[in-house]
Symmetry: C2
Subunit: 297 residues, 2 copies
């Protein structure tokens, strides 16, 4: 913790006691959200090709994306880091700065951490980030019903480019958008998930948890400029929101302070195989259940 | 999470939603404690020499020791695991079982996790465990005052034996003892820390946070049978509690349901160099400030 503590300060009043003791102490009441996610060199990033502050920001943003997916308010983050043998001090400082910048920006101050130094061997840079959030009525994956409309925020596909740069490093977790959605749609927002492993895979997870089938209209998927349409189905690391809304409810085309696009891309139907069906403009139906992203492949 | 979720169930009523969604949802109110710690093959354990269920238990117990050190009640744990290339399925199952066993035993159900597979290279087994706990009045390191008596639970030294077995794998976090201490001593329990990096190093941390000097009486240190006295000052991984109590307050010799020994080992004095002074029976004073444990050295 000392190493992270040296680079970390927060004025968030919910942090009663920050880094430096055995544990941090936070004010919390009601439903507490908690989850952990990892960023590993060679799997989620290429640490010799990007500045480590971006890696730090990605690690925090990736975990915060799950807070957005539950419609929660960020509370705090904790980071555990394994530094490879030979990590340079400047890189380590950049990493800590990136972790803190993202944590502060999104209102989830870094309140705990552990940094371990690998003295030899090939151990890759490894960062695990735990996020805590609050929500009295979290939006689960399992609340979808047949007849719901499916929507996504933003555009999909091509987040991981060959040079290791791009969206997957610099995305913003959809926290303001999620807050706007819960405020606007209320209880008609039945289910939500963030798209980290590809649209089809995560649509399959939402559909399965809800006991439904996801039917996606190929022509309606918002695809990132310059990316082939198929990529939007299977690529990972979009960190957009996929959500199910009661059929017929009006959802705005843009949402949140940054006017993020919201697009209707399909519906939930009664449970059937395949779990994810892609409807093409020519009337054919493709099985999308096995399309998805394997990190590091 | 899927891999951990498959091995994890809990009936703890504070867990509103367990593994399987984007995040877990917990009931929490008041002061929330949060911290993270890591166990890394080659640094904290030797994964080719011990059964992986012990590694899992150690990883959870090590983090829970910090909850004890704050006088808190465990709430939940989250684990992030990096598996080395070639990890065997049986070992992975044992690891998950060990994580869950320790988490359930101590009332801190495993509610979140992430498992990453290393496909190549020398990446060591790495486990980071985040613990959450509750306490309205956490016992900090910084509350010690000159004139306080210093106590430890249990015996010290020799926790890490050459064959990789022993106390550091199978210790119990001092949670019931900490609960008994806070109940018995109340506000006269001024400061507390768990001894993970050696008595002298952690006494120095408590003393520094409290703006005091720690004076330890060599002859009074409770030493593990078969271990040289010096080892009790510098060895790490004891996971006993070191605490400061207002001078003159009566502290029981044994505490908690397992009648754990409690020993007075010194006092806090006004701030002075060296930060940690060891008083020997022959009247000499040794500087203990630099004695301590470096994991993996």
């Amino acid at each position: 913790m000392a190493l992270i503590g040296r680079h970390v300060t927060t004025r968030d009043p919910r942090v009663r006691l920050g880094p430096g003791d055995d544990l941090a102490v936070l004010d919390a009441s009601g439903g507490l959200l908690a989850g952990v996610d990892q960023v590993i060199d060679g799997v989620h990033v290429l640490a010799d090709r990007v500045s480590w502050d971006r890696i730090g920001r990605k690690a925090v943003s990736r975990s915060l994306s799950d807070i957005a997916a539950m419609g929660g308010r960020p509370l705090a983050t904790l980071a555990a880091v394994v530094l490879p043998a030979g990590a340079r001090e400047g890189d380590v400082e950049r990493l800590c700065r990136g972790l803190q910048e993202a944590a502060e920006r999104w209102g989830a101050p870094l309140v705990g951490g552990d940094v371990a130094f690998q003295r030899s061997g090939d151990a890759p840079l490894t960062i695990s980030v735990t996020v805590l959030g609050l929500s009295d009525e979290p939006v689960r994956r399992s609340g979808g019903r047949p007849g719901d409309d499916l929507y996504v925020t933003g555009v999909l596909g091509g987040a991981v480019l060959p040079d290791g740069g791009g969206h997957h490093l610099d995305f913003s977790p959809r926290l303001p958008e999620a807050a706007a959605l819960t405020a606007t749609i209320g209880r008609d927002l039945h289910a939500m998930i963030d798209i980290s492993d590809g649209l089809c895979r995560d649509a399959g997870r939402l559909a399965e948890a809800s006991g439904c089938r996801a039917v996606l209209r190929s022509a309606d998927i918002p695809v990132r400029v310059g990316v082939p349409r198929e990529a939007a189905f299977a690529d990972g690391e979009d960190y957009e929101l996929l959500f199910a809304v009661a059929g017929g409810v009006v959802v705005p085309d843009q949402i949140g302070p940054a006017a993020c696009a919201v697009t209707r891309i399909g519906t939930l139907g009664s449970e059937a195989e395949p779990r994810v069906a892609i409807m093409h403009p020519d009337g054919t139906c493709e099985d999308g259940s096995d399309l998805g992203w394997m990190h590091g492949s």
